[in-house]
């Protein structure tokens, strides 16, 4: 069974190991510079691979369609999350907007883990999905901010700073930059660097997910901000967003792998790039809420339940 297969992959098992270690209060920890280095590496690797694949497959009009759809999802999905957070978790405007921004944006690690699983299941997503992911990272921040503060409350200087933060965010730049490099160099010039960026990928992903398991579980254990409605929404929003993403994928007529990847992007919530942007743009919002929901609830849910589920659903819905 594909779903069970996924859970038995070393990548997932290292995530579980990290989570168990943190739950048992082991002092196991991954040095912070290693975690940051691995995340840079993963972004460069998937950017390059995506670019090389597009260089081989050639541009398709689909690329533009899916990019537009991805950005539209990123802009729109916070509205859904915002409504649920306001009504069901009774969050104030400010915090609901802050959280909503995270759910409209994407989690790179969730995408990477999903791609890995899809590829092993014979449904490799199209290479351009990396670019789509990069494009989906930041529109949600704009929506989330407008929801949190109402329009027109940003001074010109603040708006400029926010736009820079959003467009020139390190992960967007690295993902799109590596994608373009992959596009420019093509398969042949990629070969000398493939041992690092392809052959080493899954192994290093294991170490990264070990760390994510530790961090997510520590966050869950130490969180003082979470309550039950928030935990429930941390599961419900990914399910709803994933369903919307799958619907859009079906409308666009995407193949199962590419469509599943788009749906997982919709389902995933940012916990690296967006928290930093939101801390700056909405310093009065409580980081305890948005970090705990996206990292400690939705991220593990997506890894352990969302991806295996998507592996089952995608061939049926999009097959």
């Amino acid at each position: 069974m594909a779903a069970f297969e996924t859970l038995l992959s070393p990548v997932i098992l290292f995530f579980v190991l990290g989570a168990l270690a943190a739950a048992a209060r082991s002092d196991l920890s991954v040095p912070e510079p290693l975690a940051k280095s691995l995340s840079l590496y993963l972004m460069a690797a998937i950017g390059l691979k995506g670019g090389v694949q597009v260089a081989q497959a050639g541009f398709s009009p689909q690329l533009l369609q899916v990019s537009a759809a991805g950005m539209a999802l990123s802009f729109a999905l916070p509205l859904l999350a915002f409504a649920l957070l306001r009504t069901l978790a009774r969050l104030d405007r400010l915090n609901a907007g802050a959280v909503a921004a995270h759910y409209g944006s994407v989690s790179i690690v969730t995408f990477v883990t999903a791609s890995d699983a899809l590829t092993r299941a014979g449904m490799a997503p199209a290479g351009y999905m990396v670019a789509v992911m990069a494009l989906m990272e930041t529109p949600a921040v704009i929506t989330g901010l407008l929801l949190a503060r109402g329009s027109g409350t940003l001074s010109g200087g603040q708006r400029g700073k926010l736009l820079r933060e959003v467009l020139l965010n390190g992960s967007v730049v690295l993902l799109l930059g590596s994608f373009l490099i992959g596009l420019a160099i093509g398969k042949e010039r990629f070969d000398p660097i493939a041992p690092v960026f392809v052959t080493g990928f899954t192994g290093l992903l294991c170490l990264f997910l070990l760390d994510m398991g530790l961090i997510a579980m520590r966050r869950l254990r130490e969180s003082r901000a979470l309550n039950w409605p928030m935990v429930m929404l941390g599961i419900a929003i990914p399910v709803l967003n994933g369903a919307v993403g799958l619907g859009v994928a079906a409308l666009l007529g995407l193949d199962p792998g590419t469509g599943a990847a788009l749906a997982m992007l919709a389902a995933s919530a940012s916990y690296i790039a967006v928290p930093a942007a939101v801390r700056l743009a909405l310093p009065d919002a409580d980081p305890g809420i948005y970090l705990s929901m996206s990292l400690a609830v939705s991220f593990p849910f997506n890894i352990l339940v969302g991806i295996p589920l998507m592996l089952q659903l995608a061939p049926t819905v999009l097959g």
Binding site: V30, D211, E222, S223, R224, A225, A277, R279, L280, D284
Partner: protein, 102 residues
């Protein structure tokens, strides 16, 4: 003994993403020179945190030596935000050499 001057040492614990914001306020208060030290972990009203790369908002220690007026100006500027931005501010007398620099 070499001559020293009494000035202010101002230590502010600040979220890393807000560090630039603080630096701008300091500059606006006339405090252009400063240093930033890493902080590893801590415990406050919002619970424990640890700089693990992801999943927490890391913190930094902003440190400036300056004169009394500028220190007061900075305090005045950031006062409305201290509570909500989670700043921790400490002000001390300090002896410096070359007082004209500060």
């Amino acid at each position: 003994m070499i001559q020293t001057f009494t000035r202010k040492r101002i230590d502010i614990l600040v979220d890393a993403p807000l560090c630039d914001w603080l630096v701008e306020h300091a500059a606006a208060a006339g405090i252009v020179h400063h240093s930033v030290l890493p902080v590893e972990s801590g415990l406050g009203r919002t619970g424990p945190w640890r700089d693990e790369g992801f999943g927490t908002v890391a913190k930094r220690m902003f440190l400036a030596l300056t004169n009394e007026d500028k220190a007061a100006a900075l305090l005045e500027r950031i006062a409305p935000h201290i509570e909500r931005y989670g700043l921790v501010v400490a002000l001390q007398d300090v002896q410096v050499v070359r007082g004209e620099r500060f």
